[in-house]
């Protein structure tokens, strides 16, 4: 199955009203470069392409829908149309279109689909049935490359590569099927009913099953909420990065202050601890203490406190005669017992001697001047630290003040997204945590357990007990066998697919990367692992990473039998000129249709190489019709067939205009 993007049209949205048309060919690879200055709406268009292909805009909240309104000239409605050609082996090719209609009055979107010209436009998102499996989010993100996609595929802390494979080959459906089998089995065999007469065990099982459903719903909701959040985060992250790089001078200063502040803080912490340690010796604190303790020492020397073991007095009281040979009568014994209380024991005498020794020792060490110096030094360090901290804070305040209101909102949104995503991912982690004992969990109430794997084990255990009692063990084992077979098959299929796609990647890589560049895909796991020979590396150069990502995407598409175009945002921004030239040479070999959204600074090295090595290239430049862009309008070619003008936008397909175009505006978010 071959899918070629024919173009799109936008009206009444925050990007200019324009119509872009491509002329893909089945005979040869076609490449289209769409150049826009920053702030024209590149990210908007890519997001709309994704939304058109996945139907995801139906789930957008009104606040998000309203973000697409044209703020310069707001209108009540807007439209995005996406057109592409679908060719099956056994059928003629046909045009398919998705249309998203925005209602900015109520904040909603609706879809229409053209799937059959004889039927015309129908309400709803209704793609051709053969396309549906490939229009899930995880599939579309394989061929619509946004932002950090290249890095994400290689990132060992993410599972983008695996998720893409599972999505493309329907393996993620198998998990849903297994859940469905479990649910149906429960309905038939284990008594979802809660009528009287059912055993306590069945009611217990029922409670756990209901709780599992609750947890699975919660998991689904979190995953569903996370998808758009992650997408918004990627966009926001890019924008923040652009913003921060635009403030690089301020950032360098900020980093310098932070380093200095950290050094001061480390020294201050050490000085604080030293000062506190010095206070542990009371003789350091006050000369009154020193004086009193020395008085005690002198008195202890003078008094020569009596001491002897209490055993001596006990033995004396039990003896017939005293040591002076007097007879021990009741009166003597009583007097000894009374007076011996004033005697210190040997151990107490040792402590007293210790006290005397320590008083002398620590008095010699104590020096009020030294202690004062310690605290004077601490004070000085606190002053210095506060001074640096104030300078740093003032600098940050200045940075924030210099940022425009829009940037402030951008940063706030970014920080909010980070917190929200972390919170939801944390909750998902808890739900999927396998640690713990299901036997312990089984003794408690279902709602005390929020871990799906543990709940599954409890349910399995209860099912087995009930099955034994009800003599339905055979059915239970059959159900479990079926689920195991499905899961095992899925696991084996995934493993085989990863190996196959890894091999395909390496075949393509050989065609893309320059000679002498030693790089291969070592393994496709949750992420793509690269290296060469015995060496594994977490990432390559910018050019290598891009080559790997494109190889992976096109390998996946080929293997799945659904050849979509590659639509890439900033295809070469991270590459040096040499890498851009190499990519330009090989781009035609990568896929049947390539659409790259670029800015003027990406042309260097890339476009010339592309022009030399590919035949079917379309050069499109698009910009807003505003006063700041007057200079572009004055440079438009005289051949009006290459210029399309709307009320608020201009599209030019002239190559010379494309080559000479330079963005003169300051950074503005898309």
């Amino acid at each position: 199955m071959n899918i070629q993007l024919l173009g799109w049209k936008t009206t009444g949205l925050r990007c200019p009203d324009t119509e872009i048309q491509f002329n893909p060919s089945t005979a040869e690879s076609s490449i289209s470069l769409v150049q826009m200055p920053n702030g024209t709406g590149k990210s908007t268009i890519i997001e709309l392409i994704e939304a058109a292909m996945t139907g995801s805009a139906s789930g957008w909240p009104p606040s998000y829908v309203m973000e697409f309104i044209n703020t310069d000239n707001p209108s009540d409605f807007g439209t995005f149309e996406l057109h592409f050609n679908l060719s099956n082996v056994d059928q003629k090719s046909r045009k398919v279109s998705f249309q998203i209609d925005f209602d900015f009055v109520v904040g909603t979107v609706t879809y229409s689909t053209l799937e059959n010209v004889n039927v015309g436009l129908v309400d709803g998102w209704e793609p051709p049935s053969e396309l549906i499996p490939f229009l899930k989010d995880d599939c579309v993100q394989v061929f619509v490359f946004k932002g950090d996609k290249v890095e994400h595929l290689l990132d060992k802390n993410r599972a983008d590569a695996e998720m893409s494979i599972k999505a493309f080959f329907g393996l993620s459906n198998i998990d849903e099927l297994c859940d469905h089998i479990e649910t149906e089995f429960q309905k038939v065999n284990s008594g979802i009913k809660t009528e009287q007469g059912h055993s306590k065990k069945e009611n217990q099982l029922n409670d756990w099953i209901l709780h599992r459903r609750l947890l699975k719903d919660r998991e689904k909701t979190l995953e569903h909420e996370l998808k758009p959040l992650r997408s918004r985060y990627d966009e926001s992250h890019l924008k923040v990065q652009k913003l921060m790089s635009g403030q690089s001078v301020n950032n360098e200063k900020k980093e310098k202050y932070e380093t200095e502040l950290n050094n001061y803080k480390n020294n201050l912490d050490k000085a604080t601890r030293y000062a506190f340690d010095s206070l542990r010796n009371p003789l350091f604190i006050s000369n009154k203490i020193t004086s009193r303790l020395n008085e005690l020492h002198n008195n202890l020397e003078k008094f020569k406190l009596p001491g002897t073991s209490s055993v001596f007095f006990d033995e004396l009281c039990n003896a017939d005669n005293c040591i002076c040979d007097r007879i021990m009568d009741e009166k003597s014994i009583s007097a000894i017992k009374k007076n011996s209380a004033g005697f210190l024991s040997d151990n107490q005498i040792n402590i007293v001697n210790g006290i005397k020794g320590d008083i002398i020792e620590f008095t010699n060490l104590a020096d009020e001047t030294k202690n004062k110096n310690i605290f004077d030094e601490l004070n000085a360090m606190i002053k210095n630290y506060n001074s640096i901290n104030n300078t740093y804070t003032a600098h940050i305040t200045k940075m924030k003040e210099e940022a425009t209101e829009k940037h402030r909102i951008l940063m706030e949104e970014y920080e909010y997204l980070v917190v929200d995503i972390q919170k939801k991912e944390g909750m998902l982690k808890v739900l999927n945590n396998q640690e713990g004992s299901y036997k312990e969990a089984k003794k408690k109430r279902p709602k005390d357990c929020n871990q799906i794997p543990i709940v599954d084990k409890v349910i399995e255990s209860l099912e087995e007990e009930i099955a034994l009692a009800n003599d339905t063990l055979k059915e239970l084992n059959a159900k479990n066998k079926l689920i195991n077979v499905l899961k095992q098959s899925s696991k084996i299929a995934l493993s085989d697919l990863k190996i196959e796609i890894g091999k395909k990647c390496n075949e393509k890589l050989k065609a893309i990367i320059p000679e002498g560049d030693w790089l291969e895909v070592k393994e496709v796991d949750k992420n793509i692992k690269i290296g060469y020979g015995d060496r594994t590396q977490s990432r390559g150069s910018g050019g290598q990473n891009v080559a790997v990502a494109y190889s992976f995407a096109t390998s996946l598409l080929e293997r799945s039998g659904a050849e979509f175009p590659l639509i890439v945002d900033h295809p070469v921004t991270a590459l040096m000129d040499s890498a851009r030239r190499e990519l330009g040479k090989k781009l035609a070999n990568i896929c049947h249709q390539f659409i790259g959204f670029i800015i003027d600074t990406e042309k260097s090295g890339f476009v010339e190489s592309l022009s030399t090595n590919s035949k079917n290239i379309k050069y499109i430049t698009m910009f807003k019709k505003i006063s700041a862009n007057e200079i572009y309008m004055s440079n438009l070619p005289k051949d009006t067939s290459k210029v399309y003008k709307s009320e608020n936008g201009i599209v030019c397909t002239d190559k010379d205009f494309f080559d000479n175009f330079e963005d003169v505006n300051e950074y503005e978010e898309d």
Binding site: R273, L279, P306, Q348, L378
Partner: protein
């Protein structure tokens, strides 16, 4: 057992949790309160239900000074009683304060006295500083510059 005013943990939560804080345990704060208590007076408000257990022994940094702390307790008690040091009184005090079987050298009576001083010390500190600064260095500076000069004054010592 060393017992501390039950409000200390909450009052000093930022000091205890600060990164690189010199206050490794509540005993560190207990000691600072004890010194202030010794320098001023025992608290007349002391009630056992207002304190919580911390630890039954000194932590390592305090172990070196255990004899000094015992001696300080003795001179404070004698000072509070406003009596001169006589052989009998000192001997009696030593006997009641020192416990040779405890690593702290402190008897139950001694613990009780120390806890009362620490309780009173905290009340005095809190009165001067209802909300401590979150940074340990600012607190230590305040303690040395502001609180300690109020203690061990001629009228009290």
């Amino acid at each position: 057992m060393f017992k501390i005013h039950k409000d200390v943990k909450n009052w000093a939560k930022h000091l205890l949790k600060a990164k690189e804080t010199p206050f490794d345990t509540q005993l560190d704060l207990y000691y600072l309160c004890f010194i202030v208590g010794i320098g001023l007076c025992k608290s007349p408000n002391y009630k056992s239900e207002h304190v919580v257990d911390i630890i039954p022994r000194y932590t390592q940094p305090f172990q070196n000074y255990r004899e000094i702390y015992a001696a300080l307790l003795i001179v404070s008690e004698l000072r509070n009683a406003s009596i001169e040091m006589t052989k009998e009184l000192v001997s009696k005090k030593m006997t009641s304060i020192l416990d040779t079987y405890d690593s702290t050298h402190l008897s139950d009576e001694a613990f009780g006295l120390m806890n009362q001083y620490a309780f009173g010390g905290f009340e005095a500190i809190r009165k001067e500083l209802p909300n401590p600064p979150p940074n340990p260095h600012d607190f230590i500076k305040w303690y040395y510059d502001v609180m300690l000069p109020k203690c061990f004054t001629d009228d009290k010592w």
